[in-house]
Symmetry: C3
Subunit: 360 residues, 3 copies
């Protein structure tokens, strides 16, 4: 599936990116690799200036770079304002996405007679589809996947091994969920009745929107009542915990180990960095950004970036961090001042004696 | 399974809750829903005053509220001191708990001939019960569950898909474990011998008490020697890590992403909020509360609430937070003082000259 | 498999440890237990002085202790500089490592005809080995394990239930991976193209070195390009997240809930304590130690210990913590100083009047 640089520049154009070719348009590349690992016939890229030294040493025959980037002689350069986007388009063009091949194995799926599976589905042995569940067209269900009673999956859904969808939960179209993730387990819902924890039946569901991708080993609670929601186009990394009744908007991006308590409302296009946490019953606005390890305990307005524990607007958080770093120095200054003031007080007392006790 | 409001008030009485009905005792409701989603024939509730606006707009025909709560006209109100407990009792009465239906599928479980399974068990295809394991009466084991050699499960245990119980571990009666949780894997036990890590055989076990519920994708280490213990009635959310040899008391509640190192001793009725962590070999007293994201590095006395990193008593933690927030202001004050003191010192030096060098 | 204390001391010698026996060399012990739980015929140990009180009360008939430790009369003592190492060697000698017994069950594995499995493998029913995958000699694959297309496992690999190895990933020799861990899922790789997230095909792999042990429910991303690497001899606890393209050196030890973003470079012999996090594209030197809950945002030099959020060298982190704890006191001192300086200023103004306005 090799392509000439001219063909690849055409591909970029289809994505709306302008590119300028500084080299031979007929040069052909067959695959993409990192600057360190690329060899002849491969195209690489420089997006993060931190890796500029690797560019000087690369054996790639072509590179994607920003317009003004110096490139070692002999390497064909594709220049564009968006090197990262451009190399993405080239990876898609040269490598494509993972192909799921229908298994030729002889094992057995266990599909309840009342369940329905759409056309052209790839169901591995070891998949279980429980009663009255519905699986859409073109589904790819890997071994160990369990679809609970009455759960419904849209079309073009890919569930990697051991993904579990609890009873009644809904999965949209074109959803990908990685191995070991669980959708719709009961949340931590107990009421103290008569001196003991009484479990609150979790009669709500979890609903995953269209075009969502979820990493591996995540846990998305079902709602106590109503729905836990992951909005269309949202992307999750691994080991993320979402509490019952929390509703997340569209096109968000959450990094690994993010944890949201229950009944949180998250807007659209929200970014949450690694290990961030959010307490229950608050609201995070559209286009907000939450820093790594932040502990969010109050509402976050649209478009704001919050950081710290507790999380505050980023400028305030940075100011506090700077001052915290200077604390030892501040303590020293304070101590010195205390001494000086004591001296001044002593002198002042002396002066007063001088001034009053020795009248001219 | 609809019930009249009079019948529901009777149910509350059975739980020891007093309720006063402000409406038609013969009005029937069939299900429970949130204030936003409820419609005619449904009962909802207001427990958190934050959601009072939703009460004004609800289409529920009945609501559970606190005694003095104003309720829109036309809505039947059940008034009680414990709206949250009351709605819990109503969910149980109207919806009941999840029913596990014996699978009608044709797949196969793999049960070692030396294993024993109690009466009335629901064992899905895709379950593996290894040699000499014992599964009690009324067990519900979903697909992908693995019960290791010599492990023993009590009666009325429900294990959701892909739960793994390692060799020799013990699970009490009436235990529920959600999908993907692992009980009894080896802990991080290595000794540096002859310049390399030598694995310490983890010959202890993990023991889960009666009436415990554990969320999805948790990891409970077995002990190196002896037992890792989760006490009776304790409830866990998702993605919780418990280190080897740690012993947790009864009726505790742990939120998602909590992590305890090894050999920790946790008392009864302890609450740990999300993403809290505890170092090894310390003791957390009965009825203690650990705040979200806290990093506990010292013993916590009975009944105390600890917060922060490192975790300290909540009042101290709050005091530090308040002062940390004022740090920029403090730095400014300190700078101004420094200038003033310098001026005073200069003046003092001048005064002294005046006082001594220019005698009257 | 009981052994005399003389035999056990010989075992220690084979590991290069010196031991002195303070008791009967012919006394036989059959197993190892904690001080609290040990009884006659069992050997226990004291390594952490915190547990000295348990030594006074133990019913063990023999104990491993440091050279100068006082031991209750009647208990045989093995004295050594390394009690923890010594008891490890004794656990290995008396208990050995877990034996995996070939299943006698009648269920079915599903192995693609183009996959290859080495000699003497123990493959449980419920295992799936996909097309062109290679599994080495002496493999032990528990139920629910999935080996993706073209993945390759070395010899003597043990994968506990529901471990998933994605397509093309590589697992070395003598690797153990605990239940529910996922190797090689796609990382969080999207480029904003034309106003939406476009998934970057993750064409790299994850590669696990020889002698690695990984805990349960971990998630190791495959690389976007090239390789995510876990180096030889490295040990992981549970629920650890490793981002795409991150490369971890040899003989590291990571505690539960550690999270590393993508493109991190970690040296050899690095220790990361629980819930620590590392941002992308940085470098952590050999023999570095990262404290619990630390948030690493800058390179860490070889041999350094970093702590805090953001993580700084341990001495600096401790200094800041001490000062943060004194903040309330500092604020008080500052307030008092402010008052005194104001008084001094007033007096100075008075003095000046005295000195200049009332000439003698």
């Amino acid at each position: 599936m090799s392509k000439s640089l001219a063909e690849l520049c055409e591909v970029l154009g289809q994505y709306g990116m302008r590119a300028e070719l500084d080299g031979d348009p007929e040069h052909r590349v067959g695959s993409v690799a990192t600057l360190e690992e690329a060899g002849p016939g491969q195209v690489s890229f420089l997006s993060n200036p931190k890796y500029e030294r690797a560019l000087a040493r690369t054996s790639a025959s072509a590179v994607v770079v920003s317009p003004d980037q110096r490139v070692p002689s002999g390497i064909h350069a594709v220049r564009t304002e968006e090197p990262y986007g451009a190399i993405t388009a080239m990876i898609v063009a040269l490598h494509g996405y993972r192909q799921h091949v229908a298994p030729r194995m002889t094992g057995q799926q266990t599909i309840d007679p009342t369940a329905r599976v759409g056309e052209n589905a790839t169901i591995y042995p070891g998949v279980t589809i429980d009663r009255e569940a519905v699986v859409g067209d073109n589904a790819v269900l890997y071994p160990g996947v369990y679809i609970g009673p009455r759960a419904r999956l849209g079309n073009d859904v890919t569930l990697f091994p051991n993904v579990v969808v609890y009873d009644d939960c809904l999965i949209g179209d074109r959803v990908t969920i990685h191995a070991g993730t669980v959708i719709g387990q009961d949340g931590l819902g107990y009421a103290p009745l008569g001196g003991r924890w009484v479990k609150i039946p979790q009669i709500g569901i979890a609903e995953i929107g269209d075009d969502v991708e979820i990493g591996s080993n995540c846990s998305i609670d079902r709602a106590t009542l109503g729905r836990t929601v992951i909005g269309n186009g949202t992307k999750f990394s691994n080991l993320i915990a979402i509490g019952h009744g929390t509703q997340i908007g569209e096109h968000c991006m959450f990094v690994a180990h993010v944890g949201l308590a229950g009944s949180v409302h998250v807007g659209d296009h929200v970014t949450m960095a690694g290990q961030a946490g959010v307490v229950g019953h608050i609201r995070i606005g559209d286009h907000a950004t939450i820093g790594a390890k932040a502990g969010v305990i109050n509402n976050v307005p649209d478009g704001e970036t919050f950081l710290g524990q507790p999380a505050v607007p980023i400028n305030e958080a940075k100011r506090r961090l700077v001052h915290a770093a200077h604390l030892p120095e501040m303590a020293k200054t304070l101590k010195a001042l205390k001494r000086k003031v004591a001296e001044l007080e002593q002198k002042a007392a002396g002066n007063r004696e001088q001034g009053t006790g020795k009248p001219g």
